[in-house]
């Protein structure tokens, strides 16, 4: 087995035989031609034919990949009419008394070199367009068909690079994936692969040789990996991923864009849990209605010193803007226990899960807390932000938090900084919070139940201790009763109650949660559509 890594430009798994797309190698000879007039005529005829081909390609591309992506063939057509391009070819044929092929190749090389040197990565890719246009004319001049690459069976296409014409001319039904040595995420191959939903990896440093033809390959567009002659373990693992993706894709087609509504008409919010800005794409791919838990820890854990207000603000603003009015619930710093950052200078604790962590740190180091709150309230002007406080055990904590939050708001308002309407809620993840949820509810805008910690504290089982895995039972009646109690107390005070722990994604409990009246489930993005499918099959009236 050989493994290569490149840049993924479109995700998905492909398994199949490898086929090479070798460039039809036009070896350009420089021949002396006396009759320049006839040679120019020969070039003009080839140019006319090239224009015809491009018009046909354009029509075909419009059908396959849409007008916006097909437009590149219109650009090619205009390049054929470009005066600099034509003048140069005419000049070379006349002045050097040479053949048209040579004149076109030289001109193509010169002009594409101009683009290849440009700063802008997108513009550098246009060098490939000029080459593509020149090669088309040369192909016609030398009577070599450029449209002749026929795939006999479904294949993974490996090439040095792909021009747009090559990409669109391939029989879509038979292309499993693209792997190219060159090309960037801005190349046409990338754009077209995305449009055609074909897994694609570019920038794979791989020696292209006939030796790999017809061998089995695996393209993992999720990670950018490319395997040649995979071993059985890799093959079966990838087959499994592929099958899961297929299943998910089918589900996606079925329930994407649909409401999270039960057969009897009860609606519930399905939100996503994320831990970084890079997770935003999966929020959209999986059609989440909002973000139910944005863990802000990464801002602290990825750094060697406290993140500034500005740094945090930019991140929160970006999420708020990207979600465009959909709810984004950001949890304040939940560091401590298993998540440590050295610059916090924390003492070693006997029992960190029950130690100095989360809101306890924030209420002790108020400057750190205020910096985060300022960034959050400022970002609230750019979207629908809600703030969630973790590890609450008492009403005094909530009072203290609200006092600090009010201070921050007043400071911002008096400095003429715009803030939006921000819901403030708490996580219910300690048995104490559950037992006083009736007292907490009137003080906040929402509850979100963190089932992971709630289970470990209620059952007195350390989550990190694998020896106890067999008795760690999140379906324990104690937990389910607690959830029910929290929902009831929340609803009595008129606030909504959600679940953002792992239990929310457990489809064997979905119906039970809905019967309890849970208003929101926030889960890792890959579970959203599975849950939606489940919700749409439940009937609470029976």
């Amino acid at each position: 087995m050989k493994k290569y890594v490149g840049k993924s430009v479109y995700s998905g798994i492909a398994i199949g035989k490898i086929n090479l797309l070798n460039k039809v190698d036009h070896e350009i000879k420089r021949n002396h031609v006396d009759d320049s007039v006839a040679e120019i005529k020969r070039f003009e005829a080839a140019k006319l034919e090239a224009t015809k081909q491009l018009q046909e390609l354009y029509q075909r591309a419009v059908k396959e990949v849409g007008e916006a992506n097909a437009a590149i063939f219109e650009v090619h057509e205009l390049m054929l009419e470009d005066l600099d391009f034509l003048d140069s070819i005419h000049n070379i044929i006349e002045n050097q008394k040479v053949n048209a092929e040579y004149a076109v190749a030289t001109t193509g090389d010169n002009l594409s070199a101009v683009f290849a040197m440009m700063e802008d990565e997108y513009m550098r890719e246009r060098a490939a367009d000029i080459k593509d246009v020149s090669e088309r004319i040369i192909g016609i001049l030398s009577n070599k068909a450029t449209d002749g690459f026929v795939l006999k069976e479904p294949s993974i296409i490996v090439a040095d690079d792909l021009t747009p014409s090559e990409t669109v001319q391939l029989d879509k039904e038979k292309v499993l994936a693209f792997v190219t040595v060159h090309g960037s995420i801005h190349s046409h191959t990338a754009i077209l692969a995305r449009m055609m939903n074909i897994p694609a990896i570019v920038g794979v440093s791989l020696e292209i040789s006939d030796a790999i033809v017809a061998k089995i390959g695996i393209v993992n567009g999720n990670t950018g990996e490319f395997f040649i002659e995979p071993d059985d373990t890799t093959l079966s693992a990838m087959e499994k991923v592929k099958e899961e993706e297929l299943h998910k894709k089918e589900l996606l087609q079925k329930v994407k864009g649909k409401e999270n509504i039960t057969l009897d008409g009860t609606k519930v919010n399905l939100f996503a849990n994320i831990g970084n800005l890079s997770d935003l794409a999966s929020v959209f791919q999986n059609d989440a209605g909002g973000i139910g838990l944005f863990r802000s820890e990464f801002l602290y854990l990825e750094k060697t010193t406290y993140p500034t207000e500005e740094e945090q603000f930019m991140v929160y603003k970006k999420v708020a803007e990207t979600m465009a009015g959909k709810k984004v619930i950001i949890r304040t710093l939940d560091i401590g226990a298993d998540k440590q950052a050295s610059y916090f200078d924390m003492e070693k604790e006997e029992n960190p899960a029950m130690g100095y962590r989360a809101i306890r740190i924030c209420l002790d180091r108020i400057d750190v807390f205020k910096t985060q709150l300022r960034a959050l309230f400022r970002a609230s002007a750019f979207g629908n932000i809600a703030i969630m406080y973790p590890m609450i055990i008492s009403t005094e904590e909530v009072d203290q938090i609200k006092e600090i939050a009010d201070e921050v708001k007043t400071e911002l308002i008096s400095a003429n900084i715009k803030i939006g309407a921000v819901e403030q809620g708490i996580m219910i993840e300690t048995p104490a919070a559950v037992m006083i949820s009736d007292l907490l509810a009137p003080k906040v805008d929402f509850f979100s139940i963190g089932t992971n910690d709630l289970t470990q504290y209620t059952l007195a089982i350390d989550r990190q201790n694998q020896k106890l895995d067999n008795i760690y039972n999140p379906h324990h009646t104690a937990i389910l009763r607690m959830i029910k109690m929290v929902v009831e107390n929340g609803h009595k005070a008129g606030i909504w109650v959600g679940i953002c722990g792992e239990l929310g994604a457990d489809i064997t409990l979905t119906e039970e949660f809905l019967r309890m009246g849970v208003d929101e489930l926030s889960v890792a993005p890959p579970y959203i559509l599975l849950l939606r499918d489940k919700i749409r099959k439940v009937n609470l009236k029976f």
Binding site: V75, M79, D84, F115, M118, Y122, R126
Partner: protein
């Protein structure tokens, strides 16, 4: 001769697609149409040169239009810019 300034609001600048639209538009008129950015000028009817100039978002360019139909060409071109660039 007519002239007008225009600041590019198209996010990607004068990339392949906008450039080709501009070249097509310029081709409708007899006048010579020149685009100047930072003292460098290109013939707007020449696609490759126009693309190679690499005009970016937010940059100010000047259009010079000279010829028999310069009045109408300038007016139409300015409208084209507001709509497409």
């Amino acid at each position: 001769m007519k002239q007008f300034d225009y600041t590019i609001t198209e996010e990607v600048g004068i990339h392949a697609r906008p450039a080709s639209l501009l070249v097509k538009e310029a081709g409708l008129y007899e006048s010579n149409i020149t685009l100047i950015r930072d003292g460098k000028s290109v013939d707007v009817k020449r696609l490759i040169a126009l693309m190679a100039l690499g005009v970016k978002y937010g940059e100010k360019v000047t259009f010079l239009i000279e010829g028999a139909d310069e009045d109408i060409a300038a007016a139409q071109l300015e409208m084209f810019c507001t709509k497409n660039l």
